[in-house]
C-alpha cells in the first residue's frame, strides 16, 4: 500500500486514482481527518484523497501523519505496511 519516496516520506503506492484502495485505507486509519470542502476530490468523504494530512506529490500523495517507512537491508519495510491494523496505530505527532 505504501512506499518510501526519495525523501523518505510515506507515499501511497497506487497513484491518484485508486479510489477503492484510498477509501479502504482511510476506513482503517484512526488518524483520518477530512480536509476542507474545496480540497476534497472524492464524494465519499472517507478516503485518503480527502484527508487533510495527505500531501499531493507528482505521482501520488504522501501521508503526513503515519510514521515514515524505512527500508531494512532485505528491502522489507519497517514500520507499518499493508495489512497492519491502523486502528491501533500510535499517534504520530506533527513536526
Amino acid at each position: 500500500m505504501w512506499r518510501c519516496d526519495q525523501k523518505g516520506n510515506r507515499e501511497f503506492a497506487h497513484g491518484k486514482e485508486a479510489w477503492a484502495l484510498a477509501a479502504e485505507q482511510a476506513g482503517a486509519c484512526a488518524l483520518f481527518v477530512a480536509d476542507v470542502e474545496e480540497e476534497q476530490v472524492v464524494e465519499e468523504e472517507l478516503s485518503c484523497y480527502n484527508c487533510r494530512y495527505r500531501r499531493w506529490s507528482v505521482e501520488s500523495f504522501t501521508c503526513l501523519r503515519l510514521p515514515p517507512l524505512s527500508l531494512d537491508e532485505g528491502g522489507r519495510t519497517n514500520g507499518w505496511s499493508e495489512g497492519e491494523d491502523m486502528h491501533h496505530a500510535p499517534f504520530y505527532s506533527s513536526p
Binding site: 480536509d35 476542507v36 470542502e37 474545496e38 480540497e39 476530490v41 464524494e43 499531493w56
Partner: protein, 247 residues
Amino acid sequence: MRIAISIDDTDNLESRGTGEIASLIAEELQQRGWGSCSYITRHQLYVHPDIPYTSHNSAMCFFADVGEGWLEPVIEYVSEFLEKESAPGSDPGLCVAVPARMAARNELIGFGRRAKREVIGMDEAYDLARRLGVHLSQHGGTGQGVIGALAGAGLRMSGNDGRLKGALEFAQPYRMLRVDELLQHPVVDVVKSVTGEALKDEDLVVLGEKPKTVLLDGASVLLVAASQSSDAKARWQTLHRKQLKAY
C-alpha cells in the same frame, strides 16, 4: 471598479483553509459597504518537490466590485487580515489586480498558466507585478505565497481555470432538476455537457452528491454527462468530484 483579490499559502495542516480566509475577507468587504464580491475560485498550481506548499498548492481568488476610492483601503484591510489570521508557519501572499487598468492582461494570465507547470521564483513574480501595476505583497513567513497569489489572479482572469469553492445547495434535496431550473441557481451561469452535446431547457439532470461548478469561458459552469441512472426520464447527471479534479 472590478478588482481581483487572490491569496495563497495562509494555512497549515491544522488550521482553517485558505478558502475560508478568502470567504471571511469577502464577507467583511461587503459588511463594510465597500462593494460586492463574486464567488471564490480555487486554482491548482504546480505540484513539484521544489515547491514548499503545505498539502495541495492551490490559490483562492474572487472578484470584488468596489467604489473607486476603496482600492487602497481594501488592500490595507486584507493585508492586516492576512497578518493577523494566517496560520503559524504559513507564508501568505496577496495579489490585488484591477483588470481594466492592465494593458497586458495576457502576461498575467500567461504567468498563471506557467505556475501550473513550472517552478517560478518570487523575484519574477514581483518583477511582473511591478511592470503590470498589480499590487503584490507578502504577509509573514518566507512570503512564498506571492507566487501563487499572482498566479491565482491570472488564472481567474483567464476565465478558464479552477473550481468554485463550495457545493451547490438547493431549497430542497432534489434528486433531479430540469436544466432551466438549475439555471435559476444564483451560482450556475451555464449547464454544459462535457461531450459538447446541446442541452434543452427541459432536459432532466440527476444531481450527484455535492455538485460543484467550474470556471469556463468566464462563467460558472455546471458540467454534466450522459445519465447512468435507471430512471429513463433523466438524460444527464452532474459530474463526480473525481471527474472535476482536472479543473
